[in-house]
Each structure stands twice: as C-alpha cells, then as structure tokens.
C-alpha cells in the first residue's frame, strides 16, 4: 500500500524541528581536538593505516561519489573528507612522523568544524568510492572514523545529535518506546494478528524501528504476517525492539554500544538463535558487524536482515509466494545491506518469486548508487540540497530501466525516495520488499 503522503510530510516537518531539541555540546577548543585525536589513535590499525598510506591523490574516488558527480564540487572528493585523519596519521603515528611533523600542519579545532559538513552533510558512507579506488582505499570506513572523532569532539550536526541524545538518554527514538510499540501491536491484534511480545523463550527475536511504527506501518504488519505464516517461534521485545542506532549514525560510540547491548542482552535472554533486522539500512551493520566487536566476543546468535531472511526462506522453498501480475521493477540495493553487507541475491530471489521482472539499473549490485539520503543525512537540515542531488541521479538510474516501480529494503532509502518523488512529482512507485511479500501471503492468520 502506498505511504500516506500527508503523514509523510508531517513526519518531515517534525524532523525539521529536531535541531531545536538538541542539547548544546560545548567544550573548550583544545578538548575537542584532543578528543578527536584520541579516537583517531584508537581506530587506526594496520588496515586503515595501509589505506591512508596507499592513497596517491589520483582523484578517482570523486568520480564515484554521487555528490561530486552531481555537483562537480571538488570538496566532495571522498578522500578529501579524510584530510584531518590523514594528517593525524602522518604527524603522530606514521612511519616518519618526526619528519612529517616539520611539514604537516597539526589539526585545529577549526579544521574539525570545517570538516563537519564534509563528513556529515555530504557523505552517506555509501562506499562507492571505496570500490572505485584503484588502491583499494576503504574511504567509507574512514569517514566513519571521522564521524566518531567529530562526535567525541561534540560536533555532531544538531538534528542528528538531537536523536542521538534522545536514544542515549531515554532509549527512545522520536519519542517511540515500548508503549508506542504496544499501541502498534494492539492495532495489529485488533485486526486479527497474533503478535508474540516479550516471550521468555523464542527462536527468533524480531526487531522493528521507529520508522515502521510511525510511518511504514505496513512493513511491521508484513513482518508479523510472514513470521506467523512460516510458523516461526518468534517474539518482539518492548525493551529492545529498536533496530535504528543513532549512536552509529552520528558516530557516538557509547550510544551505539548501549543500543546494541540492549538487543544482545534480550536475544541471549530469550535464547534466540536469530535476530532479524527490519528494513533499516544501518541497523544491519550495527548488529551484524559492529556489535560483536563492541561486545568483546562473538555473538551466540545470527543476525539477518529481513530481506536476507525472506530470500533464504524463498530459496530454501519454505516460503511460497503468490505471484501477481508480471510487471517490471528495479531493485535498489541499500548501501549498508548490499555493498557493506553482501546481501544481493536474496532480495532478488524474493522479487522473482513474486513473479516480478527485475531490471537492473545502469550500475547495480556492488556499484549501485546511493539513494542520496542515507547515514543520517535525512536528519540533517543543511544536507537537503545534497539529498536532492542524490535523488536526481538515482532517478535517472531508475528511469533508465523503464521499470514502473522501485523496490528497496531500507526505510531510510525509502524516505529519501519519497521526499524526492514528492518534490518532482515522480510517477514511479516506491515499494518495500517486505510489504510486497506481506501482500503475497494470506493473512491475518495465527501461527499455523
């Protein structure tokens, strides 16, 4: 079902109010620099060091960046976004630091401020640049480090910071907590769905997200429907249902870790074998890749994106879908799930099973262009221009396929597509993978 655009516009309006809610993060300038450097020191290992060391300033990364491609502004050159980190490495940790110190300028507070718009407003950490780099420099990972440093230096952009602070202090996102989840659950129950909440033991712990509770309610409904349809022993937990991790997006590690730990605790508590991440791009790497490292030991359960889970069920023949009318669609790989997660085949298998004709965009899979609004950009007011640039490029990509609809598996991507479509009155459908699946199975029904 299409999203209610009035609801969507209201949501966007709310986001615009966010900066006013952010708490100030004042600190003396030298502290900011010190804090940033401490992060650099901690994060630089041989992997990142070899990347920093191998860059020859060839500029290829710029040609991969949707913001540079669209604007021609050289400051969007991905490797340029890492300059403070690069300088730190050379002066303070690199092989000839004693020599470099004579010729390389130290990082100043002003540098950190100047780089804030470069690592937040104009980078979605989509990682296309990393994959274009002839030296294999993983730029996106290091933009993540830059964000972590700026976060410690108190320089997260206000909109993003407001949500990070909320999640850090109250554990809610946009005011959505356990109570609001229960309201949504009750609404589903009222329509005949069986929704297991806070079960003591469950094979599968299903997460949701604020977006799915406030805006993309069909995604939550479809997830419930599928789980029940497959007869999975699952549960959703009121104290650990939020997949979105604004600690990760903003770069604030303590909040990221706290958010992940809640989920880990619950999952272990109920003996879950699998944790399922909703259609929320960054929630996937937060749990799938980062969480174990923050936790300090391998996790005793698997983490799967819902698109991955659905794909596996389809491929294993367990999930049968009613195929509807055969129409051409294109699949947008969310960067954090595709390029950073390795999930490409599963969602496509689902689309095939739905009887849809999947048409690939001019660049796809590993080199798919970002939606333009990921990595928290949607919450950064000053990034609006860039989000639009990103959408315009993506729009060309989608239109080149001739598909009437675009399917994706990330709420954040969906937000930016919807915003762009609303702006230019775009005629293509913007659909969610899990919602399509929900429509292709019978329900509401209890566990069979």
């Amino acid at each position: 079902m299409p999203v209610d655009m009035n609801l969507f516009r209201g949501f966007v309006e709310q986001i615009r109010q966010l900066p006013a809610m952010a708490q100030p993060t004042d600190m003396p300038d030298p502290d900011r620099v010190r804090a940033a450097k401490a992060v650099f020191a901690d994060k630089l290992d041989a992997r990142l060091a070899s990347h920093l060391d191998a860059c020859v300033h060839c500029g290829v990364c710029a040609e991969a960046c949707h913001y540079y491609v669209q604007s021609g502004d050289p400051r969007y050159t991905p490797i340029h976004k890492l300059e403070p980190l690069m300088r730190y490495w050379r002066r303070e940790k690199g092989p000839f630091a004693w020599l470099q110190r004579l010729i390389t300028r130290d990082i100043s507070e002003q540098d950190l401020e100047d780089w804030q718009p470069l690592v937040y407003d104009s980078c979605t950490e989509c990682g296309r640049c990393s994959f274009a780099c002839p030296q294999g420099v993983d730029i996106a990972s290091m933009v993540g480090v830059m964000r972590q440093a700026l976060a410690k230096a108190g320089l997260i952009p206000a909109g993003l910071r407001a949500v990070e602070q909320e999640q850090g202090s109250r554990g809610t996102v946009f005011g959505v907590g356990g109570e609001q989840l229960m309201e949504a659950v009750e609404a589903l129950r009222a329509r005949g769905y069986e929704v297991p909440v806070d079960k003591e033991q469950a094979e599968v712990l299903v997460l949701s997200s604020t977006l799915d509770i406030l805006l993309f309610t069909d995604a939550l409904e479809s997830t419930v429907k599928v789980m029940n349809h497959l007869g999975v022993d699952w549960s959703i937990h009121t104290c650990a249902f939020e997949g979105a991790n604004f600690g990760m997006l903003s770069g604030y590690e303590e909040v990221q870790k706290a958010a992940s730990e809640r989920i880990i605790r619950e999952a272990i508590g109920c003996g879950a074998r699998v944790v399922i991440i909703p259609e929320c791009g960054h929630a996937y790497p937060a749990m799938r890749w980062d969480a174990a490292n923050e936790h300090g030991e391998p996790l005793p359960f698997d983490v799967m994106a819902i698109s991955e889970f659905l794909g596996r069920e389809v491929m294993a023949g367990r999930l049968k879908l009613k195929s509807g009318q055969r129409r051409p669609v294109t699949y947008h790989d969310p960067c954090k799930i595709g390029r950073h997660g390795g999930i490409f085949d599963e969602p496509r298998a689902v689309l095939e099973a739905l009887g849809l004709e999947v048409r690939e965009m001019p660049v796809h899979h590993e080199m798919n262009y970002c939606c333009g609004g990921g990595a928290g950009l949607f919450l950064i007011d000053s990034a609006k221009k860039n989000r639009d640039l990103g959408f315009d490029l993506k729009r060309e990509q989608v239109e080149a396929t001739g598909a009437s609809s675009l399917v994706t598996a990330c709420g954040s991507c969906r937000l930016n597509f919807l915003a762009g479509a609303d702006r230019v009155h775009w005629d293509r459908g913007i659909e969610s993978l899990v919602e399509l699946v929900g429509e292709a199975i019978d329900g509401p029904g209890g566990a069979s």
């Binding site: 630089l44 290992d45 041989a46 992997r47 060091a49 070899s50 990347h51 060391d53 191998a54 860059c55 020859v56 300033h57 060839c58 500029g59 290829v60 040609e63 991969a64 540079y68 021609g72 050289p74 400051r75 050159t77 490797i79 340029h80 940790k93 690199g94 092989p95 000839f96 990393s130 994959f131 274009a132 780099c133 002839p134 030296q135 294999g136 420099v137 993983d138 990972s141 799938r288 890749w289 980062d290 969480a291 174990a292 490292n293 936790h295 300090g296 391998p298 996790l299 698997d302 595709g338 390029r339 950073h340 997660g341 390795g342 001019p362 660049v363 796809h364 899979h365 590993e366 080199m367």
Partner: protein, 214 residues
C-alpha cells in the same frame, strides 16, 4: 674525489641503503600498527577476498570506465611503460647484472624499449597535467605529489637524454637523479608501489568476509 666517483660510489651506497631501509621501515610500521580482530561471524573467507582485491582492482569497477578514461589510459600507459623500462631496458639489465644481482635476463629489443619510453612519457605527462588541471586533484594534491611526479619525470628524461650511451656526463646525470629518487622514495607517495598491495588486500579481505566482491 671527483663528482663522478661520488655519484658512482658512496652516493649510490647511500641511496640504496636509504631506499631499502626506508621501504622496510615504512612497511614495518604499517604492519606493526596492528590488526584489529573482527569478532563478527564471517559470511565468507577473507583470503579469497584479499586475493580478489589485489587482482580485481587492476580493472575499473562496473560503470566507472567512462568517467575514468583519462586515468585508465594515462595510468596504464605510464605504469606499463615505466615497468618495462625499469626492468627490461637493456642498459638497466646490464646495470642489475653488474651492480646488483650478478645475473641478467633477456632485455627488450631497442624498438620496444623506445616504445615503452614513449608510452611512459605520454602517460606521466597526462597524469600530471590531470593533477594540475582537474579541480579535484588540484584540491587534494600536495607538494609531495608534485615532487614525486617531477622526480619521476626527471629520472625518465635524463635517462632518455643519455640514450646514445656516448657521454659519461649524461649517464652520471641520470644516475644522480635516480639516486635522488631512491632517497626520496620511502618518504613519499612513491611508496604506493609497495603499499598498494597491502591496501588492496586489506580492503579485499574486509569486504570478502562480508561476502562482497570488491
């Protein structure tokens, strides 16, 4: 000691020492920075990823070739040309036999040597012009990048000026610039001729274990 003796003798020893020790030191520091162990469940092997990373990055990624025509053409002309010159030009092969390794291998015929030189010059000029004319590279380039380009160019230029092999002065000039180049090498971006392996392998391994082909 005459200039000739200096350039042929002690300076060469210094250059060689700085080069070898500097390169080793730089790689050592890189590796000694330590690898962070990744505790997440791998989806796939990192070794295969690393190999794919090292090999795969020789080709432009999907959809990039169009935007990278200049980089590709100039980059390959230069690097292949230089590689051929460095290791297969007859005077160099003689040099390796007499001064370094004590054995030799089949050098390129003269025409191929000249062709390689043409390619290398064309490529390097185009790469450097791109560096100064493209707003992107103009923004991100530093004095060290230009120094590396200019020094490489001078090595090649003095080499080709000495092509007649009839003037000791010209040979010495070439050799002297080579020594400067070798001394500068470990401190500069020229090191990418070694570190590209590390970097590509690191990226390939990182994404390989996530089941993504770089």
């Amino acid at each position: 000691m005459t200039v000739a003796e200096l350039v042929d003798g002690p300076l060469w020893t210094v250059a060689l020492t700085v080069f070898v020790a500097g390169v080793a030191w730089r790689l050592l520091v890189l590796i000694a920075t330590g690898w962070k162990r990744d505790l997440s469940h791998p989806r796939s092997g990192s070794l295969g990823g690393a190999i794919r990373g090292v090999v795969g990055r020789f080709l432009p990624s999907q959809g990039m070739a169009g935007r990278l025509r200049l980089h590709l053409v100039a980059g390959y002309l230069f690097h292949l040309g230089l590689f051929a010159l460095l290791f297969f030009a007859a005077p160099h092969v003689d040099f390796y036999r007499d001064r370094l390794f004590g054995f030799d291998w089949t050098p390129l015929p003269h025409w191929a040597f000249i062709l390689a030189a043409e390619a290398a010059f064309l490529g390097l000029l185009m790469l450097w012009l791109n560096r100064v004319l493209n707003p992107v590279t103009r923004l991100i380039s530093e004095s060290g990048d230009h120094a590396a380009s200019v020094l490489t160019f001078l090595v090649m230029l003095t080499g080709c000026l000495a092509l007649a092999r009839s003037h000791e002065t010209l040979r010495l000039l070439h050799f002297f610039v080579v020594e400067l180049f070798m001394i500068y090498f470990p401190f500069s971006r020229l090191m990418h001729s070694f570190t590209f392996l590390l970097s590509r392998a690191a990226q390939g391994a990182h994404y390989g274990r996530r089941g993504v082909r770089v």
